[in-house]
Symmetry: C2
Subunit: 380 residues, 2 copies
């Protein structure tokens, strides 16, 4: 089932598929990346017809451990409300794949990976696009012997990948869910991510990206960048509670933990150069731009069923952009729903308790499972 | 005309009014600040009746040199389209005062000022509020012998001060113009300014705010903070032109000048601790909160004439907040206009060429000058 040039390996609890130099990844900028390793997790079982596979595309700051604990960091699954036994993406029913994104920090080939000279790529790593990430995932899905995915789903950067999947491989994507995302990175998001990148690069420990051998990582710059990724996830009440408290303190201090208490863990598990490469890939995403400026052209002729979710308080990926996406999908003749959820929790609402979101997602998935002839227990 | 306890002094081209310890500034946190120096500029001449004075409150990153070159930095006036001979705030007609804000970087008492022990205050400087800034300006205006200002005007942080003026001293403000501002700092803005502060404090050259004697300033952190102040001033086209170019470069590099080309000048002229104190003062601004949660109460009984301006592309101070402000003013029985300007240039639109903005501002000022009985040449 696994492609001849690839082999599954495991190290430190991270499972991955390694492609040797005979199967390079063709990048959008023309370069070839080889060898290539894709770290991934799976949950549930593939059915006999191989029709029940779900690909979860993770967001900028998460990883492949969508439904189980991360053995490297000890952190719990990041999306247990959505993926798991009896959850909307029911692992008793579906075979769920989640791969660490190309350029990511949890085992997939990235700037931290040794290049041919044995030293980490650092800034020698080629620039990435969302399409490159999707092409790498496609190699993994193919190697796993899956012709067509029942569902591709993602939020934020993961939503961009899901859209790129539906556009690039319409026959291989039965249904597609895009959450708190957009078909093009907004100028506002570009400005904010450049802000985060400048913070990383301003840290003297960044050393032009060649910090790996120095034993000190650009932790302070990355902590600031982390805040940049979170600003849209603070609710009004949230910001006032957390930063209001800071207002009472007379002294100013560097204290990136003010935000979630999880920032220090982020800094340990996330590579600063990955932040640079992934955020820039998001900034370059413009699906309409790739199709003559008309977004509907990106989906013309496809039969993928779409559902687009947005949260009212998400100002980095506002409902207006999701609405425009749904409009373009319908203009392309696609079967596309749009669901706007009232929520106070900003961009990260999809990670929390949002009963309306879960109900609509479950309805969409169940209807499509019926349409594809998948029974409730995962058989045909 | 100048208060007995104050004297005008000049150094390095910066003019200021120094209040000795007998005239302390009472701060909102209960502390007294003395001695106090307020650096200021004036343009035009005060008329015999002292009825033609205009106070311009500057924004976070500007200074008192609103209509003439800054002798310290050599930079030109920052608002020449609005303040000057024949401009909407006509210096042939009005006596224009602009003071460096309390805590600022251009001569007014701030964290960089020596405390009683001869060492710069640094983080020993007391926390500031917008009301504290206004109280300091009020001391200056009084010392200049002006009972009532014809107009108080400001954008961003300056708009907050203008509102605070109209609320705290309604009889001393004939008219008030609030531009691209809000009666309360939004959660989004608080998060962004905390991001800028974290960037400053992450810079090892910041040294807990005690960098003055080291001869090295936290320039990289401040450069990142500067970007945080600018993110809402980039237009869509602007971001794509500037950061799109960055996308083409293969290498990542710390290059805060990507933004305006003026960032390095900003870093030279602006003190990093001032950024911390001023941005936090903005974060704490909540005029309704000071009046039992009802914004209209802040203006009840006043006779100040208001005009509130907003720009459609300003996502840090969006028109919705200005609209709410205008609504509250009208609910308070105030004479209040609201002008929303279509603009592509974000928060900084008020600095650029915006004919509709200039026309409406001129109309508002001229009508009020007539109402106050000011003739076109500034007489009564």
């Amino acid at each position: 089932m696994i492609h001849a040039a690839a082999r599954v390996q495991a190290a430190g609890g991270v499972r991955s598929l390694a492609f040797d130099a005979s199967t390079p990844l063709q990048l959008a900028n023309g370069e070839m990346l080889a060898p290539l390793t894709i770290a991934f997790e799976t949950y549930g079982a593939l059915n006999a017809d191989r029709t029940n596979a779900v690909l979860v595309c993770h967001a900028l700051t998460t990883d492949q451990f969508v439904a189980g604990p991360n053995p490297v960091t000890g952190r719990p699954a990041w999306w247990p409300r959505i993926v798991g036994p009896g959850r909307p993406i029911d692992t008793n029913r579906f075979f769920v794949i989640c791969a660490n994104v190309l350029g990511g920090s949890m085992g997939t080939t990235s700037p931290a990976t040794p290049a041919r000279d044995g030293q980490p790529y650092g800034l020698r790593f080629p620039p990435l696009t969302i399409a490159d990430m999707v092409r790498a995932q496609s190699m993994l899905v193919e190697a796993l012997g899956i012709q067509s995915l029942f569902l591709v789903i993602g939020a934020g950067m993961g939503g961009m990948q899901a859209l790129n999947w539906a556009s690039a491989y319409p026959k291989r994507v039965f249904s597609c869910v895009t959450i708190a995302s957009a078909a093009r990175q907004s100028a506002q998001n570009i400005a904010l991510s450049e802000l985060g990148r400048q913070a990383v690069m301003a840290d003297p420990d960044w050393r032009g990206g060649a910090y790996y051998s120095h034993g000190v990582r650009p932790a302070k710059g990355l902590a600031v960048a982390r805040v940049a990724t979170q600003v849209a996830s603070f609710s009004e009440a949230n910001v006032r509670a957390r930063l209001g408290a800071a207002h009472q303190r007379e002294r100013f201090a560097f204290n990136a933990d003010y935000s979630t208490g999880a920032t220090s863990s982020f800094i340990e598990r996330f590579d600063a150069n990955s932040y640079l490469y992934l955020s820039r890939a998001m900034d370059g995403f413009d699906l309409a731009g790739d199709f003559g400026g008309r977004l509907a052209n990106a989906f013309q002729g496809g039969s993928t069923r779409h559902c687009v979710f947005a949260f009212t308080s998400d100002w980095r990926f506002p409902p207006s952009e999701s609405r425009a996406l749904a409009r373009a999908l319908i203009a392309a003749g696609a079967d596309a729903g749009f669901v706007e959820i009232e929520s106070e929790n900003g961009h990260d609402s999809y990670l929390g308790e949002e009963p309306q979101f879960e109900a609509a997602l479950t309805g969409f998935i169940d209807a499509n499972a019926s349409a594809r002839g998948l029974s409730l227990n995962g058989g045909v």
